[in-house]
């Protein structure tokens, strides 16, 4: 089983959607929230995902397709 740490950023349109519930329900992925700041117009959640590499990737692709931004928890690692 693999683990991946990610950060989801929700826009105003997405902030009320049960994205993390569906990620855990529709994919074979365990979600473990560690830190979050969710407000009415914007929000972010830092969480750990556990599952097979393929299933985590499938789940993250789905999250990205919903319009939620997915980033590594350390922020952008490509620097100028």
């Amino acid at each position: 089983m693999a683990k991946q740490r990610v950060r989801f950023t929700f826009s105003a349109e997405m902030v009320r959607e049960p994205i993390i519930y569906r990620l855990g329900h529709d994919f074979d992925v365990v979600t473990n929230i560690r830190r979050a700041d969710v407000r009415s117009d914007v929000g972010w959640v830092i969480l750990e995902l556990e599952g097979s590499d393929e299933e985590i990737q499938r789940g993250l692709d789905w999250v990205g397709d919903t319009g939620v931004r997915v980033d590594p928890i350390a922020g952008d690692v490509i620097e100028g």
Partner: protein, 429 residues
């Protein structure tokens, strides 16, 4: 020797030993170095600093790696130039340029990479790595060469050849990744989890970032151990911005600023603010990638990541790791943020070159245009002491200013020369 006590989470405060870690296991918050400032205060003096090398390692007592055998290509101690011509143009009588474009690999990255590389060797790593679109790649490859260890540098596959050569010449393993910016970003994060390499800005990040404090120390030392009224700093991840502020406050708390009484650092070393540090911290970003400035302008407490679309590639970080912390520094210092319109980036480059003879890259254009805005709006007073940080060399982004090449084309005859010269002079009038 380094006076490091360990690492501490900026969010939950949990402490860790001084190992190659960058994220808190509990809350996934970023880790920062914590120091034994009591011992440091017994050791560090102006004289000890002055007796040190002419590089960042003169501040060895305040850096997190041992200076016994640093990986040093002589980064730092760059010129602080009184900018009379630019100052006159902007109505600023006390303007200085910190010219960090003259570092060995031509950007401020040499400061942070020197610390990260030294720490990596200390930890026993045999490979130094990074993902970069320019300056960081050059610096990592150069320092690995100096240390005699391997370098692996990830670059986007479509990176301009001119930028690749500056890193390739040091003979690292160059990995050109095909894919979007986000895909390259994600891959490099995964690689760092799976390979026993020192990624300077990932698992070495707490140590790496501390190198930027030297930009604060040097300016204070070069000004005669005082801090400026204003600084203008280009920002991407926001790390350098926070570390310059930290550098000023460390000097003040240790009693190293002239006429300033020392004070204890308190429980949170990384947010300490000595009242004698009255510097206003101004952040410069380009409009095509300005998530921190946008949050400041909108009085938000969150940074909303953006997709970068800017000619200032070295500032193009859409999801800045230290965004929220740099936002706090802007507010605490009474500073500001400005998003330079993309069209004014090149104007800033040209203005600095034409007035002070310094050729900077696009990030420097962002800084100078921000400085101009601050002067024009009265945010910086005519007689206040202001320092603008120029962090990279113009030779790296020559394509941005190609339009300046406009020679007089003549035949090899005096008549041809004089005619062309006369026409040019007439055109200027």
């Amino acid at each position: 020797m380094a006076f490091v006590k360990g690492l501490k989470c900026r969010e939950c405060g949990r402490e860790y030993p001084g190992e190659p870690l960058n994220v808190c296991d509990f809350c996934f918050g970023p880790l920062e170095v914590i120091y034994d400032y009591v011992t440091i205060s017994e050791v560090v003096t102006h004289q000890r600093i002055a007796d040190g090398p002419i590089s960042i390692w003169r501040y060895q007592d305040l850096l997190p790696a041992s200076a016994d055998d640093p990986v040093d290509i002589m980064a730092g101690y760059t010129p602080l130039l009184k900018a009379r011509n630019l100052g006159k143009k902007l109505g600023l009588n006390n303007l200085y340029i910190k010219n960090d474009s003259v570092n060995p690999s031509f950007s401020f990255k040499d400061r942070v990479v020197s610390v990260a590389a030294t720490k990596a060797v200390e930890f026993g790593y045999e490979t130094l790595a990074c993902a970069s679109t320019g300056n960081l790649a050059c610096s990592v490859a150069a320092h690995a060469a100096r240390a005699g260890i391997d370098a692996v540098v990830f670059i986007p596959a479509d990176l301009e050849r001119g930028k690749v050569i500056g890193a390739a010449v040091y003979n690292p393993t160059l990995v050109a990744v095909e894919g979007t910016y986000d895909e390259v970003n994600r891959l490099c994060s995964e690689v760092s989890d799976n390979y026993p390499w020192a990624f300077v800005n990932i698992n070495m990040r707490p140590y790496y970032a501390e190198g930027s404090k030297t930009l604060g120390y040097e300016v204070a030392e070069q000004l005669g151990w005082r801090v400026p009224d204003h600084v203008v700093v280009p920002s991407a991840s926001g790390a350098m911005f926070t570390k310059i502020w930290k550098g000023f406050n460390e000097l003040a708390c240790l009693g190293l600023l002239d006429g300033v009484d020392p004070q204890p650092f308190g429980a949170d070393q990384n947010t300490v603010h000595h009242p004698a540090v009255t510097t206003r911290m101004h952040m410069a970003q380009a409009a095509g990638c300005c998530p921190i400035v946008t949050a400041w302008e909108n009085q938000q407490n969150q940074i909303r990541p953006v997709r970068p679309d800017s000619i200032a590639k070295s500032l193009a970080i859409g999801n800045p790791a230290d965004g929220i912390y740099s936002l706090r520094v802007i507010r605490e210092s009474g500073g500001s943020g400005y998003a330079v319109p993309e069209s004014q980036v090149v104007e800033g480059i040209k203005l600095l070159a034409e007035t002070e003879g310094i050729f900077t890259e696009t990030a420097g254009g962002v800084t100078v245009s921000t400085l101009k805005y601050l002067a024009e709006t009265g945010a910086i007073g005519a007689d206040e002491l202001a320092v603008a940080y120029i962090t990279g060399n113009g030779l790296k982004t020559q394509e941005a200013v190609e339009e300046v090449v406009n020679p007089l084309h003549i035949k090899p005859m005096m008549g041809s020369f004089e005619e062309a010269l006369e026409n040019r002079m007439a055109a200027r009038v």
